[in-house]
Symmetry: C2
Subunit: 393 residues, 2 copies
């Protein structure tokens, strides 16, 4: 009789970011005079918008007085924040009922918990390279994992073939780490495939606010048929700089039924059993961030990151190098020079140009031989990195 | 091939609180002139202490400036808050390493996630009546559940017999809903039993700050041997009035090893995979709440609730009625008059005294025939309830 979930023992040790951080720290220690340009992390550089700060201050004041104090909250989220999210989708002509919106502490948390709804027998398909948690949480649940690889040939936008079979599919568009994004017809192929196979798509829309091209959907629900096959996970981390705030939401449509079970009802049951909801003050901050006034400020911040994307894209394109991303997502995905691994190229960029990138190996299968550049650096660092890359490439 | 976790379909519909709330709402509608005294909910009545409010304001200001902005945070919690928790335990002579402390969004969230570490084959023992999530999350994982019942005979403090066998045991002391609390020798029996059987205790310490008696441990780690058999889940909800803030912590000792697996290492892996940590501003608020200055204010608030407990206890004792609780926990647990169910007595108290309590049926096996009274009401409501109970009992 075993009591421990032995699947945890089969996970690779989490050495990737340890190795990355240790290497960078060692280089910095040995070369304290050389300014490092950090294009590795996918974190915003802040600060929060004034609209959000004011909402936080008001909410904190409410919590300081008995008459306006909020104790326990609805587990799936407060009506005012759900309404703000519904209105945000409404602005893109996606109609959601507020009770299809579940407030979370961020996309990572819900991606970690949504697996609860499925059996260990569910066959998982991960389009890779990918955010590592898709594979790791599936492994922790003891599920069989199929990998569908992004490649230079398919432009890092893999599509389902007729012979593809799986129960759960992780899609992330706009994509981390490759910066690619499915067009409407491409994503429709996934929706049709999922409805056909009775599969469920877990659609990670964390980077939706970066979409610039009109033919790229920001929500999977922009496509006909998506409500009968897709759960959408989103976050304010990248939309409103909430990485240190922790607030997101997941949409589970009422039409989503599998094997006679309403996944919507199951998720209500899951959330009301496993959480007591998200902090009142964070939900007030979130509603402010998604308000028309808040969105004006969010877009200004996003535009700065998009401009960084253009700066880096220009330099790489001028050097005649093929790459993906930099337009609809805050990442660029760059092949390494012939025969070099992501780690080799990472090391070369660190030593020769003092630029920190992320080796593609950190994103699972299909990542080797690539590096990811982030657009979340400051304008100054990005410009300086562009100059150094011009010399190097 | 099934892809859905069918165990969710076997859960009873969540009608308990719907029925309770609907009944109270209907009564209020029919009798708008009769003031209801709400001793049903286990929620604090706030507000947050001044120390916490000031820390929140400072943290919000930090998030408003690029120089002091915090983005992504360590998944298991920030060093300053872990240090505050370790110091809080240190004040009770419990020595914890900060990296044994895992910051959470509250006890409910971690109780919902800790099951990840164990296999579906783990046999779960729940001491009941209990917080319903222990049973429900175990059912969702498809685990076999054994029930060990609190009764009038064992004073609602069930202890392990020699023949008791299980892998995982949920203990809550001080207890919700019965208000009882294990003494040191009693809890030691559980610790010794668990070490003997290689079982793991999930110790819910959410009400530790209410302990008044010197022979009642506030942490299971006050007992020798606990670090090799127990995980402690705690929260600032009741300690510092954080029910609407959502902040807690879980202790997984490094010595806790089962079947060759370090549960400590497994929990690090789980948290770093399934979450991106807890909001910076909430952790600053938590550190302020656990500071010496914050604890002075927490204790004043807790003393008010404890005084409510004394008021209610006096009335019930004077009426010659047996009950548990009201001293080391903010709940009283009262048998219904002969032959009445919890629902019957709930209805009677509502109609004859306009007092809202919680029927024991909401807390699983062993709850029928009892009601729970909460000490979280205002002083005025509690005094009025005491007067009305005097007439009724």
């Amino acid at each position: 009789m075993t009591m421990v979930n032995a699947a945890y023992g089969q996970l690779p040790p989490a050495f990737f970011f340890t190795r990355l951080n240790d290497t960078v720290a060692a280089y910095e220690l040995a070369h304290p005079d050389k300014g490092l340009l950090r294009l590795g992390v996918g974190d915003v550089t802040g600060p929060l918008s004034l609209t959000v700060i004011e909402a936080l201050r008001r909410a904190v004041s409410e919590q300081s007085r008995r008459e306006t104090f909020h104790g326990y909250l609805p587990e799936t989220g407060m009506a005012f924040f759900k309404a703000a999210v519904a209105a945000y989708y409404g602005g893109r002509n996606v109609s959601l009922s507020p009770d299809e919106i579940f407030v979370s502490s961020g996309a990572a948390d819900d991606l970690g918990a949504l697996g609860n709804l499925f059996s260990p027998a569910a066959r998982v398909l991960v389009t890779e390279p990918a955010y590592p948690a898709y594979v790791d949480t599936s492994r922790m649940a003891g599920r069989k994992i199929l990998h569908l690889l992004g490649t230079r040939e398919n432009g890092f936008l893999p599509l389902p073939g007729d012979d593809l079979d799986a129960d759960l599919v992780y899609l992330c568009s706009p994509n981390n780490p490759t910066g690619t994004a499915y067009t409407r017809p491409q994503l429709q192929r996934w929706v049709d495939w999922a409805n056909d196979r009775q599969a469920v798509i877990l659609f990670d829309a964390a980077y939706e606010a970066f979409v610039q091209d009109g033919d790229v959907p920001r929500s999977i629900y922009e496509l006909p048929g998506a409500k009968t096959c897709a759960i959408e996970i989103c976050s304010l981390s990248k939309t409103a700089g909430f990485t240190g705030m922790r607030l997101g939401y997941t949409v589970v449509p009422k039409e989503l039924v599998r094997e006679g079970f309403s996944l919507h009802d199951m998720w209500i049951k899951d959330r009301t059993t496993r959480t007591n909801g998200v902090s009142y003050i964070l939900q007030r901050a979130g509603a402010a961030a998604l308000s028309p006034e808040g969105m004006v400020q969010n877009r200004l911040a996003i535009r700065r990151y998009q401009e960084n994307g253009r700066i880096l894209s220009d330099v790489i394109a001028r050097a005649g190098r093929w790459f993906t991303g930099g337009r609809n997502a805050p990442y660029l995905w760059l092949p390494c020079p012939e025969g070099k691994s992501g780690w080799d190229f990472f090391q070369e960029l660190l030593e020769r140009a003092q630029i920190v990138v992320t080796p593609g190996e950190g994103f699972g299968q299909g990542g080797e031989g690539y590096v990811r550049l982030s657009c979340f650096g400051s304008r100054e660092d990005t410009e300086e990195a562009a100059l150094r890359l011009t010399k190097l490439l």
